[in-house]
């Protein structure tokens, strides 16, 4: 310690602050304080899980594991099951990612590799603005502007031309999984774009220059060097977007149609876990009913956790494969 201190401090600017007295008193306080904050965050999570479990207990006791696999949701007979909500959550998020990933990656690549510098700033600013719009406003816009557009021309066109596929069958209501997926994609695009832009920008120029020096075109450079180099970062960006999509409540509730059913058609109305909780919590009265809604929250917790774990494994596997190759 005595020897290390003078060595580490560059002569000049930092020396004045880092006297030994400061280190003796300041550091332990600071490190303990940060430890406390870290514990608070962890404690919050654990506390939440415990409270959810306690509140969900009437439903857990009554339905057991059937809760996950049952498709009914009937407040009159008090039969509750989560399957349609789980399906709706995963389906709407999947649709959102299918729409959002190409757009976001395209936008990020354009902003980092192709766009002239005077466009980059304003365009990035606008994309980030999109992320700042409150979801209830996006939901209102979705209900009054996007949904009529989804019904006609999108759904009516898909129905007449691709109606032989189960994906595009049923009456075009406008509200439904497709609308929910589209509204979610609008909400996750800025997240994925902003993060992948930063990730792509972090790729060292030496990598790009090496590829270009070998005679590669810009497209080859992007495809062979830039994207593979930051693949794990890009997956991270997508996961962050997925996290937002899984938990998004208000905008989805407004456009998904809120019908508790599982259907193969993109046109059919559905429900997500978050929308179900938001819709019914205020008027739920009996213990089992409230318990079931809280158990839905627990299920959402588990689904989010599961998705994150899978994604982490994916990132981990990809990076280890890459390292093994090198």
């Amino acid at each position: 310690m005595k020897v290390a201190v003078p060595e580490k401090i560059p002569a000049g600017r930092a020396a004045g602050y880092t006297t030994r007295r400061h280190r003796r008193f300041g550091d332990p306080i600071f490190s303990n304080l940060t430890l406390v904050f870290a514990l608070v965050v962890v404690g919050l999570l654990i506390g939440m899980v415990i409270v959810l479990n306690i509140d969900a207990f009437p439903a857990i006791r009554k339905f057991g594991l059937n809760f996950i696999s049952s498709v009914s949701w009937n407040a009159v007979t008090e039969e509750f099951g989560a399957l349609p909500a789980i399906f709706g959550t995963l389906a709407s998020s999947a649709i959102a990612l299918v729409i959002a990933i190409p757009i976001s990656l395209g936008a990020a690549i354009f902003l980092t590799e192709i766009a002239p510098s005077w466009i980059r700033g304003p365009a990035s600013f606008l994309i980030e603005m999109l992320a700042a719009i409150p979801s209830v406003i996006i939901g209102l816009w979705g209900l009054f502007v996007m949904v009529p557009f989804v019904r006609s021309p999108i759904e009516s066109w898909l129905g007449t031309h691709l109606g032989f596929l189960p994906l595009f069958q049923g009456p075009p209501f406008g509200v439904g999984f497709l609308a929910a997926g589209m509204i979610l994609s609008i909400m996750v695009i800025p997240i994925i774009t902003a993060m992948s832009r930063d990730v792509i920008r972090a790729v060292p120029d030496s990598q790009r220059e090496a590829m270009l020096a070998l005679g590669a075109t810009r497209w080859e450079m992007i495809r062979r060097v830039t994207l593979p180099y930051c693949r794990s970062g890009l997956i991270g960006a997508v996961i962050l977007g997925l996290g937002r999509a899984l938990g998004e409540t208000m905008a989805v509730t407004m456009v998904i149609g809120n019908s508790y059913a599982i259907s193969a058609s993109l046109f059919s109305p559905g429900a997500t876990i978050a929308s179900k909780i938001a819709s019914e919590f205020s008027e739920a009265t009996s213990g089992v009913y409230i318990g079931s809604l809280v158990e839905l929250a627990l299920v959402l917790f588990a689904v989010t956790l599961l998705v994150n774990v899978i994604a982490r494994l994916l990132v981990w596997r990809m990076t280890s494969v890459k390292e093994a190759k090198e």
Partner: protein, 380 residues
Amino acid sequence: MFKSVKKWFLPLALVLIIAITFAGCSNTTTTAAAATPTAPAPATTQTPATTPSSTVSLNGAGATFPAPLYTKWFDEYYKLTGVKINYQAVGSGAGISQVTAGTVDFGASDAIMTADQQTRAEAANGPILHIPMTSGAIAIIYNLSGINSGQIKITGDVLVKIYLKTITTWNDPQITALNPGLNLPNTPIAVVHRSDGSGTTYIFTNYLSKISDEWKTKVGNATSVNWPGDIGGQGNAGVAGSVQQTPAAIGYVELAYAEQNNIPWVLLKNVAGNYEAPSLAGTTKATEGVTLPDDMKVMITNSSNPDAYPICGFTWILAYINQTDKAKGETLVKMLWWAIHNGQQYGTALDYAALSSAAVAKAENEILSIKYQGQPLLSR
């Protein structure tokens, strides 16, 4: 200097664009903006009243449906007496839970408390009263181009079948038989319901259960049920929005909502055989066609009065018979007394139907029965 102009140009331009957009479509946005008559009243802070005239303040929580009227009442009552009443429009279910837990001085609900809820409340604080405050009607709204409000006639039976999805097109013989002159299209009916739990749904499903045994056993009567059909909308605004956008849709909303937004409604056949438009008069009449019990826990749907509109219901304030705080109890009974008499005049402007004289008489008796330590808090 130039750089900083450049830096600010974009945000400024954006603000300008937004401002222009708003100015340009102010007409179309009014429907959306006026969209929530049931929106929760702004939560007032629960600081004790500072006015010298009164130190007592009351807290209530519950139904969102009567919230605009209650807010108006409590505002007028404050001007009149200086008594501050905080009302949180948190929903009937939450109101019942809060009054059971004793965290509020009164609850409010559009639905009658279930036997289970009453047992719990009584175990906690003794017998609880359902005191009717006002009543409202539910309009059946639709979206068919070229057919004006009040042109389509349907019966309760047909309505049940539409919501059970056994009648699926507008030109079904069962509908055309009731509307000989109308050219109803061969389009599938998009059935819209409330996705959130609500007193509106309770009243609506209560009516359908009275009409049809099939509905009663298959679906039932609750603030939120397992709907056989199509689209769920969030709140009145969500249902109205879905109906107005979806061609050939049918839905149900509070009368006030349909009226303020000019949404066409159907005429509904009542028990006496008359086709009635939803109206405040028809709602008040509905209370005259049913026997009102002393505890007023009664649904007035499908009333036998010849002028009654069939889908309407009371909304109640829930208060305990045995008050534990004399000052608060006195304030509460005085306020309730004022509400069922002088307060009724404020209803019409907000599309709430006044209580009939029979209902007021029953409510008076309920209020008079509220006691503190065995002594009635109010006498005639």
